[in-house]
């Protein structure tokens, strides 16, 4: 554990050192390539002016609206299609065609349909999270040992009970890894979503600092986005551990 932290610290220190050396010896315009301490003081500036906190809250609200609705819908459809394999043969080609379309490509449509504001960011995050959750859930359900279905039939469980008492919990440890992948992917797209017409949030902050030519604040914002992504990931890892613990060694 300590070793892991040490290595992380060394890696980051090397990055900062290289950055600093590049700035001092490269003769770049400091307005366009600020040194590390300018970026740090930029973070401080964002905090004291309350811009940072507002942006984070706005972004998180949009992010979780999009992500959680993708999770709910993706899991529900995924369980349905994982169980009814015949139906999946119709839906799978559709999913395979829609999935490779970058969420960004949907943006013009989304703006035309829903206008600017909160919606584009939410929809982008939704699209980014939906396909990994859906596909992972389908494959998780089809991986369930068929004996579980026999057990459900034997005990005369209703279809609803079979889904809630057997299929969902049996597949959940695998579904969780899909949720993990999806949260990282979706976070990447929140910025893009907020760059079209949102008046707040981290994506807005990126556009705003660029327009004001505050490259130091721009880099500070980027750093914050990275750190928040790391934090979200850590949160999911923690939840996954809890789940595996509850589900026991069988799935862990």
């Amino acid at each position: 554990m300590i070793r892991k932290f040490l290595r992380a610290a060394i890696g980051i220190s090397v990055l900062i050192a290289v950055w600093q050396v590049a700035v001092t010896t490269g003769g770049f315009n400091p307005q366009l390539f600020p040194p590390p301490q300018k970026v740090l003081s930029g973070i401080h500036e964002l905090i004291v002016t309350d811009m940072l906190w507002d942006s984070i809250v706005q972004s998180m609200l949009r992010f979780f609206s999009g992500y959680l609705s993708a999770v709910v819908l993706g899991m529900a459809l995924g369980m349905y299609f994982g169980y009814f394999k015949g139906a999946w043969q119709f839906a799978n080609p559709v999913a395979q065609i829609l999935r490779p379309i970058s969420p960004i490509a949907w943006l013009p449509f989304v703006v035309l349909w829903f206008g600017i504001g909160d919606i584009p960011a939410i929809v982008i995050v939704f699209i980014a999270a939906f396909f990994p959750v859906l596909l992972n859930t389908v494959s998780s359900v089809s991986k369930i040992d068929p004996t579980y279905f026999k057990l459900a039939k034997n005990f005369g469980l209703s279809r609803l009970d079979t889904f809630t008492k057997i299929i969902f919990p049996a597949a959940f440890p695998y579904i969780a890894s899909g949720l993990h992948i999806a949260i990282g992917t979706a976070w990447v797209f929140i910025v893009a979503g907020e760059m079209v017409g949102a008046q707040s949030g981290l994506g807005f902050l990126i556009v705003d600092t660029r327009n004001n030519l505050r490259i130091d604040l721009l880099m500070s914002t980027m750093l914050i986005i990275g750190l928040l992504g790391l934090m979200l990931d850590g949160m999911v890892v923690y939840l996954e551990r809890l789940i595996y613990k509850k589900w026991g060694a069988v799935s862990g």
């Binding site: 004996t147 034997n154 009970d161």
Partner: protein, 256 residues
Amino acid sequence: MYVTVENVSKTYPHHGATFHALNDISLEFERGEFICLLGPSGCGKSTLLNLLAGFERPTLGRVTIDGVVVEAPSPKYVTIFQNYNLLPWRTVQKNVELGLESGNLSKKERQERATRYLDLVGLKAFAKNHPQQLSGGMRQRVAFAGALAVEPEIIFMDEPFGALDALTRMEMQDEFLKLQKQQGTTIVFVTHDIEEAVFLADKVVVMTPNPGKIKRVISVNIGEVRDRTSPDFLAIRDRIFGEFELKQKDRTEYFI
């Protein structure tokens, strides 16, 4: 007869040809009997069990229980599978309650019933544990409690002790036989262990593969309390051993 298997065949398509997992077999037995399906791998024991339990339908012939043709699984007849019988995310108590949740018992009645059967298999103290915290033998006891809790007419078991070590296995056999006699449940039990079959069964159904057939049904009339070293136990064991030996002799001649 309580259970009848009438001229049942089960075939599977296999590389364009037809594979006979079971070929024209007939069998019958009475309520309360302990039946062992015994035979080498691939002779169709699991297939026959699945037909009896209603998980699969025969290609030809029919299976009846209590005069009714078996068409689908029912909580009246519970199957214990070798693995995956217990849901790892549920506690032992909740696992035993699973089979009761589709019935019309109240929550309290379910809990009481589950506790009663957990007590019967000696695992009341482990009610709050999760299955993976128990040994293999204990898990099988939980599975058995779960099956008994439904108060089924028949319990089907597919090599339930297959994964246990020899000593635990014998311990389980002792305990399990006692419980079966006490509860009077009809049991159909798949095994490929001859001694296990002789120790447990009222009737041993000797099966042979390619195609799956019943070679002979041997009644084990040596009383309820069985001693694995007594002469009559050994005599029956040797007789069954002979049934398989004979098969081997046939083969040798054929290949020479």
